[in-house]
Amino acid sequence: MGLMGGTWTFENRIYVNSSGTAVGPKEAEGPLGQTFDISHEDLHCGEDNWELAERRLMEQAIDQCLTKSNLQTDQVDFFIAGDLLNQNVTSNYVARHLQIPTICMFGACSTSMETVAIGSQLVDSGFANKIVAATSSHNATAERQFRYPTEYGGQKPDTATATVTGAGAVLISQEYSDIVITSATIGKVVDYGLKDPFDMGSAMAPAAADTIQRHLQDLNRTTNDYDMFITGDLSGIGSPILKDLLKEEGIDIDEKHFDCGLMIYRPDQNVFAGGSGCACSAVVTFSHIFNMLRSKEVDRVFVVATGALLSPTMIQQKESIPTIAHGVVFERAERGVHH
């Protein structure tokens, strides 16, 4: 494995063998609705409460992922997962049932790429043969924990985002497949002093800018080396800020930038500035972006999952919101090794 700055380039070919996605009703109605494996018509996903609903989404995403690779849970070496809830309850309760050695992580909405990066690293270094990386979020569980419960009726400003209901899982190994993971850039915690939990796009944009800039610098690449730069959930507010910040550094990603939070919903779905949450980058990347790679629409993409490390307790103590962004490069396998 190569280390350049904060970027890992994998020595071996690390493949995404399969992926699974499960989403809620609003995501199913959105423009990418057809690309997800499982869609629920009801936000409860057939369960009695919201936490169980989120857990079911993660279980279904993992189940889809393993079924596509024709694997049983005991053939997977490690389960690497995280979500947004306190004590990572979704991941840990899913892990209780999976009985795969578990590494649980928290990086807020950056967890999707954080788990993929760590999983790829383990597979590359030979400490694992097969890993499953999974993340989830649920609109009702997240809104209640980080903002207000819906019943409270608190107003949301237009800068707020809507937490995506869904879960995504990927199986990563060195066995040949059509999508390859070639490098990953681990984010730094960036804090520009923003304090508004209803405007996380603005808070996270500098973290994404830092990761993209360091990634290009570490690998001595330019934006021409990529077909897309995909951010997790900067939304309509954070995306222009990211482009401006990068422009100041002489990096122009305007034409190549896409945000999962803007891709997953139509603007008329009452989602304010766009989608957010761990599942936002996970379900869009593991379905739509992977499909684009497979159909040769794109050859190489850099997915930067952005996370607002928001704690309601810290916000009440007038602290600002630290943010982080982890990036992973996915390529079409036939393209060859690029180191």
Partner: protein, 116 residues
């Protein structure tokens, strides 16, 4: 005319609340408790009763009137029972409102599922 005055007076209170949310970034809980305290303070100067005479429901429906009722109850309790009466009377006028909030919240929770 009474309706128009009530509508405008009540609406002005709501505008203040919206400005507190949007410009001063207060949380809904802060706005609500501020209004209760403001209602009580205004009542302490005898202003709120005159406001009610003028605006009717425009003054009694917003949460500020809750503060006004708290103070009235406390003062009445103090008249009748002295210092300890403040505590006895403070929720007297508002007890029907508080009880119904609890009862209806319970009923709604029993019969309905949350939507989001």
């Amino acid at each position: 005319m009474e309706y128009v005055i009530a509508f405008i007076a009540g609406g002005c209170i709501c505008i203040i609340g919206q400005l507190l949310l949007d410009i001063f970034k207060l949380t809904p809980a802060h706005v609500m408790s501020s209004f209760v305290v403001i209602g009580a303070i205004l009542d302490g100067f005898g202003i709120y009763d005159r406001f009610i005479e003028f605006a009717g429901a425009g003054a009694t429906v917003p949460i500020t009137s809750f503060g006004h009722s708290l103070l009235h109850g406390a003062m009445k309790g103090a008249d009748e029972h002295g210092f300890i009466g403040i505590g006895m009377g403070v929720f007297e006028l508002t007890s029907a409102g508080i009880s119904s909030a609890i009862v209806f919240a319970f009923l709604v929770a029993v019969f309905f599922r949350p939507k989001g």
